[in-house]
Symmetry: C3
Subunit: 208 residues, 3 copies
């Protein structure tokens, strides 16, 4: 009967992979948008579209959970992983949206660095998701998760540095409020990649 069983499982992996691709695409677009920042950049709209598509995929996963009898992992783990992946994209979109709202005129070197860490973390998330199809690769999956943890620490350090510079050079408190939030949102997007890694690790650990 496995010929009916396997396709069902495959479909979940397909959806997770599509979502992982979107995480990478959103993170990449965010990095790109910063390289020549302009509140009217068409990339603002592009990131909004990615976020919208990600929402649809998230609901497709939830819906499929309710229609599928046999799932590759525990149902609540699929639900949790899908929610966390959606959070990453929401946060990237939220950061851009806030920058747009605040009419940011120029980006900082530190934000570009944070976006770069986020992009690296997104790539590691994609690799971990791709490896998830084959639980025999659990060792490798764990290594990607450790890499995501390492990147989260790296992001923390860039953020620390960014905050130090912000408070020592900026004298306008309103600019401090805005930039503090932009850095925090970007750092939270990196944290959310770590939450995805934790969700993946938790699945691997169960099936380990």
């Amino acid at each position: 009967m496995s010929f009916t069983l396997i396709p069902r499982e495959e479909k979940f992996f397909d959806l997770f992979e599509a979502q992982a691709d979107r995480i990478v695409l959103a993170a990449h677009s965010f990095k790109e948008i910063l390289q020549s920042w302009n509140v009217h950049s068409p990339l603002v709209e592009k990131i909004r579209d990615i976020e919208h598509e990600a929402d649809i995929t998230t609901h497709e996963i939830f819906d499929k959970l309710n229609r599928t009898f046999i799932t590759p992992f525990d149902r609540e783990d699929i639900h949790h992983l899908a929610s966390k992946m959606d959070d990453v994209i929401d946060l990237i979109q939220g950061t851009v949206s806030r920058m747009h709202r605040y009419q940011v005129s120029q980006v900082t070197e530190e934000l570009i660095q944070l976006a770069d860490v986020l992009h690296q973390s997104a790539e590691a998330v994609r690799k971990a998701i791709l490896a998830l199809r084959d639980m025999k690769k659990s060792r490798r999956i764990i290594e990607y998760c450790i890499e995501i943890n390492r990147l989260e620490n790296a992001g923390d350090q860039v953020q620390e540095m960014a905050m130090g510079k912000l408070f020592s050079t900026e004298t306008n408190p309103i600019e401090i409020i805005k930039w503090k939030e932009i850095y925090e949102l970007t750092e939270t997007a990196i944290d959310m990649c770590e939450d995805v890694a934790n969700a993946i690790e938790s699945i691997v650990v169960k099936h380990g």
Copy 2:
């Protein structure tokens, strides 16, 4: 033996429903308090009382978990759902408490709109909790959860707008700090309703 079994299960539903009623009551009182805001409003005290009662119910649920052999859902899911429901009420009370502490003299139209979204979300939480007694209604429960997700997006948009207006009209940075926090706390209360929805969805998905 089901005559001893069912009453036990019922009791958990009774407690969750009492808690859902309190979420609606707290959200409704919050909306009401804003309509004629006054730091000395007796509603400040009322919301504190609701929060206190919610704490007692949360501990009653936890205590019952430790004394009950057979539970309607997995024990950890009951624990998780109860914690998340408590969080919503904590946050509503925390927002009012912060407004009181900051001696806010006048509320904004945007805060009233956010409170309205929160109230709608609280109503949807109650409906989902009521439907939880009958797992055959899983389709309907999921629909309430989708509605809560939709409201969370709506809340995000109101908050975006509120922040934009705040930064473009307010020139006193201390007022910006206060109002930014008030908006964020209210938006987090709406987020917490989504966490409740996720906890419910996760239970439904397991039993689907």
Copy 3:
């Protein structure tokens, strides 16, 4: 065969206890550092070291999960508890690091009080972890968790008071931004102790 089984279980408890000791040590060092605050205090370095060791232990727990067939609790609960314990230490270190970055010259009475609540909560976490070896003590474990919840409420009240005083006495918005964040980070460390308590309670409830 229990002579091979038990040692394996013991090892997880050893690691959790080592981590609980570090939570207490970090919270205690934080309290100590505040008593004679000085950005060049060697305790800043000490807390960074504790955080680094905690990271190593966290990975040791994760690694052991992947090599151990039989675990004392569900694998995902061990993973979750270990993550949450790590978060407490991360936050203490993060608070000190931010104070250092902001070149804080003098600490407030309210921060010392918050640090004291955090230290009490850390002690209760340690007691709960110690009691976890013997599930027959579930009643007592729950009591420690209730104590941690109570301390979290106490912390909220101190923070409320601290914020009120900050906004009514400080006129420099940049100082307000810095102190608001320092109070929030400390309060979040106390919240994270509550997350640890929730993770413990959830384990006890499953095995209750």
